[in-house]
C-alpha cells in the first residue's frame, strides 16, 4: 500500500519536477489513438538499454496463439526518476501491458503502462498518460 501511494504521489506530482528525457524520436510510427491491452502477458525479457529500454513479453490472444511482443520505453535516465530500475520487470512476471501499437501491424509498440498483479500501475515517462501524452505536464526536452 505504501509503495502504491508513493507511485501515485510521484506520478501526480511530476508536474513539479523536471527530469531528463530522451528526445530521440517522435511517435509517428505508432497508432496513438487506442492502446493494445496485453492482459496477463508474461515478461520474457527486460532490456535496460539506450536509446530506449525494451520490454519483451508473450501474450496469449483470444485464439490461444502466443504473440511475442516488444515495446520501447522513454529512456533509462528519465524512467529512473519515477522509480523504474533495471529490475522493475523480470523474466516470468505476469502483468498487464498497455501498448501503443506500430502502424506496421507487427507486434511491437510504444509502451504506455504496466499493471502488476497487485494492481500497482507504473507508466512511461513520455507516452504514459491515458491519452498517449506525457504522464506529467512539465518535462524539459
Amino acid at each position: 500500500m505504501k509503495t502504491k501511494l508513493l507511485v501515485v504521489v510521484l506520478l501526480a506530482g511530476l508536474g513539479a519536477i523536471d527530469r531528463p528525457s530522451y528526445a530521440h524520436h517522435g511517435a509517428a510510427a505508432f497508432d496513438m489513438s487506442k492502446p493494445v491491452v496485453l492482459k496477463d502477458a508474461t515478461v520474457t525479457e527486460f532490456l535496460w538499454i539506450n536509446p530506449h529500454p525494451l520490454i519483451k513479453a508473450d501474450f496469449k490472444n483470444d485464439k490461444g496463439e502466443v504473440e511475442h511482443w516488444t515495446m520501447e520505453m522513454g529512456s533509462t535516465v528519465s524512467a529512473q526518476l519515477i522509480g523504474w530500475t533495471r529490475t522493475t520487470l523480470a523474466y516470468g512476471d505476469v502483468v498487464t501491458l498497455y501498448v501503443w501499437p506500430a502502424k506496421t501491424k507487427l507486434p511491437v509498440g510504444r509502451f504506455n503502462k504496466v499493471v502488476f498483479s497487485d494492481g500497482t500501475t507504473m507508466r512511461d515517462t513520455q507516452t504514459g498518460a491515458d491519452d498517449g501524452g506525457r504522464a506529467d505536464t512539465d518535462v524539459r526536452q
Binding site: 504521489v9 506530482g13 527530469r19 530521440h24 525494451l54
Partner: protein, 295 residues
C-alpha cells in the same frame, strides 16, 4: 465562473501540495547523498550573485539534464543554395522518419554528432576546463571533449581539399577563443567533418563552415550559449542555430549517458525497424537507407 475559479485555486493548491510532497520525498530518499552521484533535483538557487570575471570553469546542466535549465531556443533556417537544397533533401531526420526510416548517422549507428550539432542536441551535462592556453568543453553525452585554443593563434586557412599542407577536417573542427568582454567568451570554429549534420533536422554544413559561439555568463549560476553558422556554400545568409541555457550544478557531478552501438543495433533490430516509419511519410522502411550525407 465561480466553479472555474474554485477549480483553479484547488488546482494550484494541489500542485503546491504535490510539489511539497515530491520535494519531501526527494529529500527523504536522498539522505545521505553521495558526492559521486548526479542529483537533477538538487539545483542551484537563484542566480547565485554576480558572475566571476572571465571564468566559465565548472560543471553545468543543460536543457536535457532534468535539472530545470530553461528550454533552448530553436534554429532559424536561412534560405539554402541549390547545392544546400540537394544535400538537405537526402537527409531523413528521425523526428520525421522515425528510427526505422531515418538515415541520421547518429540515430542509426551512434556516429558522432560532430560540431555544431553536439552543442545543440542531447545537451545534458557540460564541464568547462580552462588552462592558460586552452579551454576544454567536456560534454556528458558521448563522453567527448572539444579543444579551444586561446594562445592567440588564428584559425587554419586550409582544411580539406587537395593541397598537401591542408589539414584534415575533424568532427569538432579547429577552434580558437577569446573574451569579448568580462562575461562573454567567443569561440570560432572551422574545418568541420562534412559528413556530419549541422542539426538534428538534417541541415548540412560544409568543411568551410565558420561557426561563432558566444558563451555568456550572466550570473554565478547562469550561462547561455548562442551559435551562428556562416556557410555560403549551402546557405545564403548566416544560420542561427539557436541558444542553449545552462545552470550551475551544485555538487559538480555528472552521470554517464552515451549512445552505445551494440545497444543501438539491438534496439533497431528488436524495435525500431519493425515499428517502421510513418506510412504517411515518404520513406518506406529500408528504402534509400544509408549513411546520410555520405556520397
Amino acid at each position: 465562473m465561480r466553479n472555474s475559479y474554485v477549480g483553479a485555486v484547488a488546482g494550484v493548491a494541489g500542485v503546491v501540495l504535490l510539489s511539497a510532497l515530491v520535494t519531501a520525498q526527494n529529500t527523504q530518499n536522498s539522505a545521505p547523498k553521495s558526492p559521486w552521484r548526479y542529483y537533477p533535483a538538487d539545483r542551484a538557487v537563484g542566480d547565485g550573485g554576480p558572475a566571476p570575471k572571465r571564468e566559465l570553469s565548472g560543471t553545468w546542466a543543460g536543457p536535457s539534464s532534468g535539472s530545470g535549465a530553461p528550454r533552448q531556443k530553436g534554429e532559424v533556417v536561412p534560405p539554402l543554395t541549390d547545392l544546400g537544397k540537394q544535400l538537405f533533401a537526402r537527409n531523413k531526420p528521425i523526428g520525421k522518419f522515425s528510427p526505422g526510416g531515418t538515415n541520421d548517422p547518429h540515430s542509426r549507428y551512434c556516429d558522432p554528432f560532430g560540431f555544431p550539432q553536439n552543442m545543440t542536441q542531447e545537451i545534458r551535462g557540460m564541464t568547462i576546463v580552462t588552462t592558460p592556453t586552452r579551454t576544454f568543453v567536456l560534454l556528458q553525452y558521448m563522453d567527448l571533449w572539444r579543444e579551444i585554443w586561446t594562445d592567440g593563434r588564428t584559425l587554419p586557412a586550409k582544411v580539406g581539399g587537395r593541397d598537401r599542407d591542408a589539414l584534415d577536417p575533424k568532427y569538432n573542427g579547429y577552434s580558437i577563443g577569446r573574451w569579448e568582454d568580462d562575461y562573454t567568451f567567443v569561440v570560432e570554429t572551422t574545418g568541420l567533418a562534412p559528413e556530419t549534420w549541422a542539426t538534428k533536422s538534417g541541415y548540412p554544413h560544409s568543411v568551410d563552415a565558420h561557426v561563432v559561439e558566444r558563451f555568456h555568463r550572466s550570473s554565478m549560476n547562469d550561462l547561455s550559449l548562442s551559435i551562428v553558422m556562416t556557410d555560403p556554400k549551402f546557405y545564403t545568409a548566416p544560420f542561427n542555430l539557436g541558444e542553449v541555457y545552462f545552470r550551475w550544478v551544485p555538487n559538480q557531478q555528472l552521470d554517464d549517458f552515451t549512445c552505445i552501438p551494440s545497444e543501438q543495433q539491438l534496439y533497431l533490430k528488436e524495435m525500431g525497424d519493425p515499428a517502421g516509419s510513418d506510412p504517411n511519410e515518404q520513406n518506406p522502411q529500408g528504402a534509400n537507407r544509408g549513411r546520410g550525407g555520405r556520397p
